[in-house]
């Protein structure tokens, strides 16, 4: 029997941000930021559990995070959080039918009304907001 190409590219296909424009980049960033935030969340739960070890245990774990590297990681987390939130709201609105445009006849070059300027602006705005939040976070952490 002839082998059927099911177009299963696996992780390689999933992390390829090319071919489909900024929407595909947003898709990838959404998943990367989600995984990063989940990792941070689990680490944060472990970090805060050290309060049960008393003052010594708490100050020991806080001294690890209150370093330049710790602050840079936290700034990246802030950026991921803001992008994930802003882009998540865009996705939610899109799935509710808001801002996706009206269906049109599929004529060459087959423009997709759902991938319109409003959504592109929302994606770029999410990236800019994330960058601004990271800068603010760095200013707060290194300012003290």
């Amino acid at each position: 029997m002839e082998k059927v190409d099911e177009n299963k590219e696996g992780i390689k296909g999933m992390v390829n941000p090319r071919r489909y424009g900024i929407e595909r980049v947003a898709y990838l960033l959404m998943r990367l930021s989600g995984l990063g935030l989940l990792a941070y969340f689990v680490a944060h739960i472990y970090e805060t559990s050290n309060i049960l070890r008393g003052r010594v245990g708490w100050e020991e774990v806080i001294s690890i995070t209150q370093t330049t590297e710790g602050h840079v990681i936290l700034a990246i987390v802030i950026g991921m959080c803001v992008f994930h939130t802003a882009n998540g709201i865009r996705v939610m609105l899109g799935e509710s039918g808001i801002g996706v445009g009206k269906p049109i006849r599929p004529d060459y070059p087959y423009p997709s009304p759902s991938q319109n300027a409003r959504h592109k602006i929302a994606i770029y705005s999410s990236i800019i907001l994330a960058a601004l939040a990271m800068m603010y976070g760095l200013a707060v952490m290194f300012g003290e």
Binding site: M14, G34, L38, S49, G54, Q66, T85
Partner: protein, 114 residues
């Protein structure tokens, strides 16, 4: 449970978590970032019942949202009856474990067992 219901829960937990995490972050900023992380300040936060309650709600919301998000990503990657079951049950187990571990910290600190 239907996937459409799961996604409604996913979006609901996201919106609620955004509001509550904003309050959590504001607590750090209003006290001063470094000062808010001192042992006394953290203990005082945990012993303040409304704040501890909010932390518990954030813990539950983010665990549900986070592990359902992980489930969605893993199911996008590969499909199959046994694989999908393993991923779904694995994510539920991880979610329960994180909620239990985080709740232990909140309850023990709130009740003065530190």
């Amino acid at each position: 449970m239907r996937e459409s219901v799961i996604m409604k829960i996913h979006y609901g937990t996201a919106l609620a978590a955004v509001a509550l995490v904003a309050v959590h972050v504001l607590f750090r900023l209003t006290q001063g970032f470094v000062d808010s992380l001192t042992y006394e300040s953290v203990i005082a936060n945990y012993r303040f019942l409304p704040y501890a309650g909010m932390l518990e709600i954030i813990l539950i919301l983010l665990s549900i949202h986070g592990f359902n998000g992980l489930r969605v990503i893993l199911l996008e990657l590969k499909q199959g009856r046994s694989y999908e079951k393993a991923v779904s049950y694995g994510c539920i187990a991880a979610m329960i474990a994180i909620i239990a571990y985080g709740s232990r910290t909140i309850f023990m600190t709130n009740m003065g067992m530190v």
